[in-house]
Symmetry: C2
Subunit: 372 residues, 2 copies
């Protein structure tokens, strides 16, 4: 059995701020840094769980907002929880649903689909328009029903560069974090706090101090990758992450590109998630270590080479660029599957390379080469 | 290496008309009776080649009409042929495209999209409306470019119950079969003749006599499963199949349901293909040994059982009816993949069971149980 206790974070090596570690969950030990594919509706789109395993995924994220609305968290609990429901036996993570709910505002340019108050947030389903309400206690209840290994507190996402808004939102985020912590009872699930505060160092520091006082088993950096510049994101990480406890995992939510992974790791991040690799796959895009290919492009129509000559994924080992392009043009579902396999494999390979480099003490060099 | 020479058909056992055999192709030996999944556009929809292998597929069909139009047979030849193009290293079969071209008539209720004469058929692409022409020689050229292990002659498909039409069509079908045979030069590809004649025993007999005179390495029964009754289909098989040479494989094109397989085998058929299992999968239907489930049905919403308790496929081993239904309702691509896996696995299991029963001398009993 594992040496580590549940939710222990073992730090194996550091190089500058970069860390290689192990986070122990009820469904296995996660080797960090780690990238989690996103399975919004209890499926990583166009992939089977076998495909996820084959590309080296270990942690999978699912969206509380979507699963609460359909098929419902109580149904999933009744069916044995999210792992059993979607056939994924490894570690899982659920967000709080807050980000999706706050994103509902103004989506239609007409009446807002959500209304926030100090107690929680009322919103209308994007599926049928019916009204629902999330409070910190309700979200914890839903996430406990879903039963992921890592759950997130409900927080308020503010525009990153509006100071006054962030001050108000932070007060709510902190009160909600405390209420989530009190409501949370599931011993096999780690509830992570979420540091907010936009691009403002004083607010980020205030947020870290408040949340670490609540002693969560892990901390996320929220409110980034939502419109701020890369420079602002990096500066925010640089002033926030070093304040976090060393022996707890740090999770940068919703980030990002291959380069974002390397730069986030360089600033002390352990966990990432992002829909990008699978979303762009469904648009016919193949991720490369630097940049990407639009596989719909006519120049690939007779190209016998794989997407990436150096890639060891199922797609690159078996299919040509010409075939992938044919599938896209012919509107075949297999295009999304093969590109999702390649894109996730690319992300997961890069993050494994980062970990190996940190363990070998060569991460600075790796990062330098990556920046090309 | 294989004992059999290329295109040898070894008859291992018979029980009544039912046969168990081995057909030797350039990409391996096919254990007959066999069912071929349909990969219209060089992909069995929603499946990877790995999935096909996992469900036990050995022969895969692709459609000449579709691949000729897009991406084009010369491009596929240039990329190493159909096997390399789609990543399938086992035996493959291409139809002649005739059935698709003849199906273009009247699809729009306006001007016919195809015009037939004694030399060939002129038609308009369903993709862009451009005019194309198939002759027996052109179809053979295209199929040789595609490079499947089994290719089919160009034939004319007539309404099964119109005697006068069938007489005229048969003359063309025979002349075209002869021209295909002359045009065909690829030594690693078996060109099969197609017996036509609708539901009329005299025409079927005439067709068998003509085509066997040309000595093809295998024979298909065409023009069935196109509107005639099951009784008519069975009667036609009963008067046609016994006239065919014993040591050549017999292929019933476009058939069918699990029951159709068993009943076809009982009448001496060795090879089947049908889009049904994958097409109904994309409509949310799960095939059972008898009948099927509409997995969209609300009664499955909280059902923790697999589609079929006795099934050993990836889908039934890992996922509940409730999950499959959720995927369908949530419009997730994985629904089509998981149902295609189950449906193909079901078809291929049934046909393997038929083969084992013939080898054991228990096929009559198996067939009786199957009819329930």
């Amino acid at each position: 059995m594992m040496a580590g206790m549940l939710f222990d974070f073992e730090l194996l090596a550091t190089e500058g701020e970069a860390r290689a570690g192990i986070f122990h969950t009820a469904h296995g030990a996660l080797q960090t840094p780690i990238y989690a594919p996103v399975g919004t509706q209890a499926t990583v789109k166009a992939m089977t769980p076998q495909h996820l395993q084959d590309v080296g995924a270990t942690l999978v994220l699912a969206n509380t907002y979507h699963l609460y609305l359909r098929p419902g968290d109580t149904l999933i609990a009744q069916l044995g929880g999210l792992h059993t429901f979607m056939g994924w036996s490894g570690p899982m993570l659920t967000d709080s649903g807050g980000f999706q709910v706050f994103s509902l505002a103004g989506q239609r340019g007409q009446k807002s689909l959500r209304k926030i108050d100090d107690d929680g947030v009322t919103f209308r389903s994007h599926i049928d328009g019916r009204e629902h309400r999330f409070t910190p206690e309700r979200v914890v209840e839903i996430e406990q029903n879903l039963g992921a290994d890592i759950a997130m507190v409900l927080d308020e996402c503010a525009p990153p560069d509006d100071y006054a808004y962030n001050v108000r939102a932070l007060a709510r985020t902190h009160a909600w974090a405390e209420r989530c912590k009190v409501a949370h009872t599931r011993p096999d699930q780690a509830l992570f706090g979420i540091v907010q505060g936009g691009i403002f160092p004083d607010l980020r520091e205030q947020s870290v101090r408040f949340l670490t006082g609540l002693d969560f088993p892990g901390y996320a950096i929220g409110g980034l990758s939502v419109g701020e510049t890369k420079t602002q994101m990096h500066a925010t990480l640089e002033c926030t992450v070093p304040l976090l406890p060393q022996y707890k995992p740090r999770y940068l939510m919703g980030v990002g590109t291959p380069e974002d992974l390397v730069e986030g790791i360089a600033r002390g991040i352990d966990i990432f998630d992002c829909v990008l690799p699978t979303r762009v796959a469904r648009n016919g895009q193949a991720l490369l270590r630097a940049g990407k290919f639009n596989m719909r492009n006519a120049r690939f129509s007779d190209d016998p080479a794989p997407i990436d000559e150096t890639c060891t994924c199922y797609t690159c080992q078996n299919f040509s660029r010409a075939y992938i392009r044919h599938l896209i043009i012919a509107k075949e579902m297999l295009a999304a599957t093969l590109l999702s396999i390649h894109n996730l494999h690319t992300m997961l390979t890069i993050i494994r390379e980062c970990r190996a480099a940190i363990l070998a003490g060569t991460f600075a060099e790796y990062r330098h080469c990556f920046q090309g």
